[in-house]
Symmetry: C2
Subunit: 444 residues, 2 copies
């Protein structure tokens, strides 16, 4: 895979003849029925038939450890989510143009998880829709149009948001008045991460001024995901955000991946940075697979938009979506999943750092909680990414029944982002299997 | 309500003091927690607590006949959809980057409902996302950017699609290279509906040429909804579509409201027009409330987009979404709901025409199957819309426990669009209650 259609860890359809009959036929059927934009993961696509907790199963009864999927955030097929959805589906499932207690009870509960300045919520179905709405609100509230994103950002698939997602490749038309800045540095590269990132934002602001573009939004992941998993040091976003706000723009925190306790320290990724965003967007883990997403902001920022436009999202804030999202909050609390993300995440990162002693290809271990990036480097040099080796590790783990993926501009960062109930035993299995796989990787 | 924020049949928050304590408190709580873009229906907002089939219930145990909601298309809380969703949620719910049989089985089944030229499907969560994707594909396949919509169109809420939805009001920034044409005529106004609509499209094409804009898409409802429910005569879209295609553009049929058997004659609204669209979008009724939507098109049109861009919609095409959508197709078939839409729809339209004898305010009865518009006019004159009377009828029916809404540029078209199991008895109840309500409306 190369050029504008490249996707990290994508299956190469020209190699379909290597697959067994069943998978090859399924791949052919996909090609015959689905649009050609669809991509599969892995050299050998994965074909699950059931799942439970942190495990997925294939038709041959093999079980696969899920160290990648963040949507089944409280675990695949969690009984309490299923019960909540089933119960509410049997009672009522309508929309926000009727009065409903469920949407308000959930809104209250969700807003309680935010700093008090963030006092209003709007519901969508997907993170893409939440980010799209956030951009509409930011443009309306600021009167500006300039958006800053990172160079390999991914924020979603609507036309507007695809234009803010350069990780989709050069074939996707970039949005107007969009300015890309370098992702944060790895702290091990030396230099001041916060100052370097702020410098990038300052440069983009200067370019906006030169072009006569008024700033609207700085939109970033609070743990940078597609850019290569950048998380540290805590607080590094603050100077860039301050600069951007002084220029009249708003800070949108994309919590689609970092949110809902994944970072293990607090509930939201932005809390690592000791700042309060102007707008927060969230999605994937919110309903544990039931489509529900949201945007949280402040009344004063939403007022102008609300005067100019109504907003109705047919399924957004529906009774069932709210029941699923309520169950997820209950489970995170009752099962101590933020604590577990911290404990298991620390154990896993420490284990990865220990592994780096015997496997010098492990150049850096980043992340927080159960959102972990492992950068593979040749000779420990950040300018010598071990891209092929990373692909070999991802596929080697998949052959040994563990699912992860990769990230970053050079596709050399292992992306480990399991469901939150991932425990110490699973972390140890991942570590020992990774150790075995790394032993098969030739040292460059 | 007036100006750019007007929504037909919207509750006026300044009149909240008229409500009983419980509803007033709920309205206040909404205002305190949700973004100010949210709107409620009716002078007296409706507060349902449960639903079954074509009935909704409030906390006082009153039942309300649902003659408006198209999302619970096979009936509120349909057991078979609930069972299908619950069963699949308990087994597996992942995404299209793994191989999955459910998405392919459903894709095959869905595509069987289309002319053979339409041979590929892509899944999204909402109709907004489906239309947004359709616009991205149309721009990619044509190399153009010019879009034609109708003057009061509504196609969704992403930034791109809100820009193609002038019914959201003048406060919403119109999209670039967007050209609005007049909605179709009512056949009773005289004149050739097809020729008049084609003339509008011809004018928009001339304006595109003048501005150097290349045509990309003609995007319309196949039964025009927010424009005022225009359906007839069958086939009237064909000449406009032909003109637009000759200019190099694509025809996108928005089936979010007309599709899935609602028109009672065929499965899709475009089939009334004896033409095959280039792209078809669908949403609301597809999962009976479970968020699932889709875009159907042709391989040759999707190729360019697929080469330039991957597309991944986290929840789109998930196992559970496909289970819900499969159940909906099963129910439509097994319960004869297309046939029922025709039978009940014909009965209802005939009854409405009969009512017009005693109520001359009924100026025109339009629509097909269970998608019906009743235009209220003063003195039978199309230039004297009975807008206030229409609001009085909608609210009068709501006071008598029947839910409908209104449509059109003058908000003078009753919009009747019930769940598909709506039967003759329910139609008769709607007709007799409408008769009573109309008797209370002063003749202008």
């Amino acid at each position: 895979m190369s050029g504008s259609q490249a996707m990290i860890n994508a299956f190469d359809p020209s190699k379909a003849e290597r697959l067994d009959d069943r998978d090859r036929e399924t791949v052919e059927k996909r090609d015959r029925l689905l649009g050609p934009s669809y991509r599969l993961f892995y050299d050998q696509p994965f074909h699950p038939v059931s799942a439970q907790g942190v495990w997925l199963h294939d038709a041959e009864g093999r079980r696969f450890l899920d160290a990648y999927n963040n949507v089944p955030s409280v675990g695949h097929c969690h009984t309490r989510v299923i019960e909540a959805v089933t119960k509410q589906m049997s009672i009522l499932n309508t929309h926000t143009r009727y009065l409903s207690d469920g949407v308000l009870d959930f809104a209250e509960r969700l807003l309680d998880l935010f700093p008090s300045a963030l006092d209003r919520v709007m519901f969508t179905c997907t993170g893409s829709e939440a980010n799209d709405l956030a951009i509409r609100v930011a443009k309306s509230a600021t009167g500006g149009s300039g958006i800053i994103i990172t160079r390999l950002a991914y924020h979603g698939v609507t036309e507007t948001i695809a234009g803010l997602s350069p990780s989709l490749g050069s074939g996707v038309p970039p949005g107007r008045d969009v300015f890309a800045v370098d992702a944060p540095l790895d702290p091990r590269q030396g230099g001041d991460v916060a100052a370097a990132f702020a410098l990038g934002v300052e440069g983009a602001l200067a370019e906006m001024r030169r072009q006569g573009v008024r700033p609207a939004a700085l939109l970033v992941d609070t743990i940078f995901s597609s850019d290569g998993i950048f998380s540290d040091p805590p607080g590094f976003l603050a100077p860039a955000v301050q600069l951007f706000r002084e220029a009249g723009g708003l800070f949108i925190a994309d919590e689609v991946q970092a949110g809902f306790g994944r970072t293990g320290d607090r509930f939201w990724g932005f809390q690592r940075h000791e700042l309060t965003p102007d707008i927060v967007t969230m999605g994937k883990p919110m309903g544990n697979g039931y489509p529900v997403a949201a945007m949280v902001s402040r009344r004063d920022l939403l007022d102008d938009f609300g005067k100019k436009s109504r907003y109705f999202n047919t399924f957004g804030g529906s009774n069932v979506a709210m029941a699923a999202a309520t169950a997820v909050l209950d489970i995170i609390r009752d099962e101590g999943l933020v604590e577990n993300a911290r404990t298991t995440g620390d154990h896993l990162r420490n284990g990865l750092i220990a592994l780096s002693q015997s496997h010098p290809i492990i150049g850096s271990v980043r992340g927080a909680g159960l959102f972990i990036g492992v950068e593979l480097l040749r000779g420990g040099a950040f300018d010598r990414p071990a891209s092929q080796e990373t692909a070999a590790v991802v596929n080697g783990l998949r052959e040994r029944n563990i699912l992860i993926s990769a990230s970053g501009p050079n596709a050399n960062v292992l992306k480990i982002r399991p469901p939150l109930p991932f425990g110490i035993a699973e972390a140890d299995l991942l570590l020992s299997t990774l150790d075995s796989v790394l032993q098969t990787i030739p040292v460059a």
